[in-house]
Each structure stands twice: as structure tokens, then as C-alpha cells.
Symmetry: C2
Subunit: 308 residues, 2 copies
């Protein structure tokens, strides 16, 4: 049996201990542990990596503290537009959605695109039509309301500025994601986000883009990114980790280090990446002050963390 491992993130950015109350810090840690356990549970029962990453991401989407699903930030129009992607490293199958509204679990919808269409990426109104045909749970705007997010939006809605899920003291790139290696040695990745506060014009970041924010291939790695999406797109960050492993023979950790600490920094790409390989090794690397994260495996590792 292969070592099995799940790793998750809940966003990266200028997350400093002095700016989080003890209560908020504890709530975030608890949310991370719950999401980690949800995925781990699937792996422990002999389930697949793809089901594990989905379970973890659904848990994070359902948690109002993280910028995805329920906790999504407000767009310029005062609504929520959600993006997500999922990829199975065993056969390179993948699904993604961009700019979808009112769907409770965008990662479930992305998975259904993968399973039930010949396509990979569905966007906007068309994606919503597919969601309705699938009978997937929808929620009214209220469900996505949080006083905290609303204040973020209020502070910027009269400007053309987008903000990266931050307050004055807490710049955070809000995205959630999971990567897993199951007991059969298959790996998978999933990412989900509400994007940038006050975003407009149907802006799509790296999260739903295969090769940029999300990628999985049993030969190399499963990757989920969080950070300044445009930089991760220009860097084709997720697939770059895979190529450094495949073509340069680097380990997962070496390849992720090059991409996060050298390549992304050279283009002002703040954020982080989580990854696993098909032997169950995990790495969680970020160039920002903090990254909400967790990792658990069947050899006793079970850890959530926020700061450096």
C-alpha cells in the first residue's frame, strides 16, 4: 500500500499573528483541521485522491471564513462569482468552471464538468445553465453574505480598485485548495475561489485554469496554488513544477522551491503552492507572510499552521 497524504490551503498573504485575534486564529485552525480530516477520512477508507480533494475543498467552501463557496468575496456588482478546477493525475481528466453564481459547491460542479461533458472549462451564464441541468444545490445571495466581506467591499466599491481579500492589516489571497495521494498511488488536485474583492468585467484568475492554478499528473505531482492569480498565469505555475520534475529530475520540494521562491518572486507573484507526488510526499511552500495550510498522512503527520 502506498503512503497516503492530503494537504490543503485556505489562502496566503500578509497573515500576521498580531493581526488575528485568538478567537479568529482558533476558528481558522479548526476549519483547516476539519477540512483536512474530511479528505483524510476518504483516503483512510481506501477512497480515491480525487474524492479526497473534493471532500476537503467542499469543507472549506462551506466555511464562511475562507474565500470560496459560502465565504466568497463581493464583486464590483455586489454579487459573488466563483471559480474552481479539479484534476485527476491518473488519467489527466479535469473539469473547471469560471464566473458561476449561487452554486453552493463550485468544486462539485467542476467535477461534474469532468465526469459528464466532453469539455473542460465552462464559463459564465452557460456554466450556470449546466449547473441547473445537473440539479446541483443552489443558494440565494444571502447564503454568501458575511458582514466581514461586505465591509471589505463597502470600503472599495466606489473605486475601480480590486483588493485581494484583505483589510488594511491583513492582505490575503483568498483561495482554497487540496492535493492528495491515495493508497493506490494516484494523485489529484482541486482549487476553488471567490477571486478578488470588487473584481469586475468577469475577471478569471489562475484557480480554474489547468496548468496555472491547478494541475495533476501521476508521473510528477498534484498542485494547487493560491496568490496573485495573474502572476501565477504568466508563470504557468502549476505545470512549471511538473515540468521541472519531469524534465530536470527535481524532487517535488526542489521544483516547488524554484517556482515559488525564484520564478514567482521575479514577477512579483506573491502567494504559495501545495503539492504532493505519487509516493505520498507533500510540500507546502509560500513567499508571503503566511498561508492557511494543513497536511496529514498515514505515518502520523497531522499538522495545521498559519504563519511562517
Amino acid at each position: 500500500m502506498n503512503k497516503f497524504t492530503i494537504a490543503i490551503h485556505g489562502g496566503a498573504g500578509t497573515i500576521l499573528k498580531e493581526n488575528l485575534t485568538a478567537e479568529l486564529e482558533e476558528a481558522h485552525r479548526q476549519g483547516l483541521q476539519e477540512a483536512l480530516d474530511a479528505g483524510y477520512e476518504v483516503l483512510m477508507r481506501g477512497g480515491t485522491a480525487i474524492d479526497a480533494v473534493k471532500a476537503s475543498v467542499i469543507s472549506l467552501e462551506d466555511n464562511i471564513l475562507f474565500n470560496a463557496g459560502r465565504g466568497a468575496v463581493f464583486t464590483k456588482d455586489g454579487t459573488h462569482e466563483l471559480d474552481a478546477a479539479i484534476m485527476d493525475g491518473s488519467d489527466l481528466k479535469c473539469g473547471a468552471i469560471a464566473g458561476i453564481k449561487n452554486v453552493r459547491n463550485p468544486i462539485d460542479l467542476a467535477h461534474r464538468v469532468m465526469l459528464h461533458t466532453d469539455h473542460i472549462l465552462l464559463a459564465g451564464a452557460g456554466a450556470s445553465e449546466f449547473a441547473k441541468k445537473q440539479g446541483i444545490p443552489h443558494e440565494p445571495e444571502d447564503y454568501f453574505f458575511s458582514a466581514y466581506r461586505y465591509k471589505q467591499w463597502e470600503s472599495t466599491r466606489d473605486s475601480d480598485k480590486t483588493i485581494l481579500d484583505h483589510t488594511a492589516h491583513d492582505k490575503k489571497f483568498g483561495t482554497v485548495g487540496a492535493v492528495a495521494c491515495d493508497a493506490h498511488g494516484n494523485i489529484a488536485a482541486a482549487t476553488s475561489t471567490g477571486g478578488m474583492t470588487n473584481k469586475k468585467y468577469g475577471r478569471v484568475g489562475d484557480s480554474p485554469l489547468i496548468g496555472c492554478g491547478t494541475y495533476a499528473n501521476n508521473k510528477t505531482c498534484a498542485i494547487s496554488c493560491t496568490g496573485h492569480g495573474e502572476a501565477f498565469i504568466r508563470a504557468v505555475a502549476a505545470y512549471d513544477v511538473s515540468c521541472l520534475m519531469e524534465y530536470k529530475g527535481m524532487s517535488l520540494e526542489e521544483a516547488m522551491h524554484i517556482v515559488v521562491q525564484e520564478k514567482l518572486i521575479s514577477i512579483d507573484g506573491e502567494g504559495g503552492i501545495i503539492g504532493v507526488d505519487a509516493k505520498g510526499n507533500a510540500a507546502l511552500i509560500f513567499n508571503s507572510a503566511g498561508m492557511y495550510r494543513g497536511v496529514r498522512n498515514n505515518e502520523g503527520l497531522n499538522n495545521v499552521a498559519i504563519f511562517q
Copy 2:
């Protein structure tokens, strides 16, 4: 002065001489030559690679024979949804749009996203709003009407099948694209498409996705793809060529050969890729029966072709 080169494509697929009338073949060749000359003209005047690829793609978008801009195929709803991307290899700046309607030149809009926003990819209704703010030329549905495309759509609209811009005898992956290397040694890539006939649910293919259908980096290559978009996404095809050059030291042609003739074929990815490097070398490689294509440089090469 660097050797300067432009290469273009107008789609790939089962394009066989016996299925094209002499008139249609001649019309396609003429359209390719015009588009090639439009880009070459820019390079000859000392213009930039990015302006050259834009000029060539605009020429192809304005030509009703090619599936992009004016000649775009019909969606399931009987309208047209256009995707495009452009990338500058000198600074990795890029812009893209997906699922836009009624815009005369999608590549111009993608370029404006690159120049005038902090974003890379805008999709759907939001992208249309941006187009209107930019005052970019819009056209009524009539402009995009062609009897040929309408017949394609009529034959399939009552089914859930998408078709890849084909008739029974002529399966063609309709996309247009250009790559260029200018006299200063900078390179760029641009791709534009109307996607698949009868596509629905806001399906987005590889064309507007950086790293998949379009990529440019002075260090390696500028790439534009045409083919079965989903396979090109799973392969992260454009960036894979770049990585094989950067990490394995391959030439442009060697890297493109691996991606088109080995990697894409292994996942049933029919189509082709055009590329240039920063020395002005060009390659045009496809694994389908034909690819509408052309290449011209300042050393006397000036060639358009359709079949193997």
C-alpha cells in the same frame, strides 16, 4: 538586426485536397497570404512582434473563411461566442477574453485587456462590458452569418453533439493564430477562435488559455495551437514546448515534434502547433491531414500551404 519571421495558421483537421474545390482552395490560400503579408509588413517597418501577430490575426478574423471573428461557427443557441489570447514574449504580459459576443476583432479586445487592465482573462458578460467601455467595434449578428456555417449548425442543433467545424468530409479544428519574431529579437503569439459548432454551456477551449493554446517567452518560444482544445488543455501544450526547450535544451522544432507527434497523439489530441524562437526560426507541425498555414521571413521564405 535579428532575422524576422511571421508564421500563421487558419486551423487544422481532416483537410484533404479531394474535398476542397479549386476555388475554395485558392480562396483559402489567398486569405492566408493576405494575413501573412499583413504581419510581415509590420515587421518590415521595424514594428514589434506583438503588433505583427495582431495584424495577421485581425486579417484572418475579418475573413469569413476562417473560424474566428467574422467566420465564427454557430453555438447551440445559434449565436457566436468568441475567444482570443495574445502574449508578449519580451515581458510575459498577456491578455485574453472568453465567451464574448458581437466583437469584430476579439484579438484587439484581448490586447486591450493586456494593456488597460491588471487582469489577464475576462469572460462572458463582464468581458462584454469591458469591450463596450473600450469603444471597440461591435457588429450585429448578421455580420457573423455565413450560409456554410449555418448549414453546419442546422445539421446538429437538434442534438447535443458538438462538432469541430466540420462537414462529413472535412473535419476541421477552426482556430486562427500567428507567432512572430521581430527585428529586435522579441517574440509574440496570438490565437483567436469561434470554437466548436453547436458548443454550449459556455465551453471555453485552449485558445484563450495562457500556456495551453497560446504562450510566448523570449527565452524559449512563441506558440499558437489549433486542434481539439480539450486535449491541448490537458497537455498544457504551448507551455510544454517552452519547458522542453528551457529544461531539456531542445530546439524549437524538436520540442514541437515531441508535443505534437508524441504527447498529443497519446491522448488523441488531433491538431497542430506553429512556433518561432527569438532567433527567427519557425516551425509548423501538425498530426492531422492538413493545416491551413503560412510562414514568411526576411531571408526570402514566403510560403502558404494547406495539405501535408
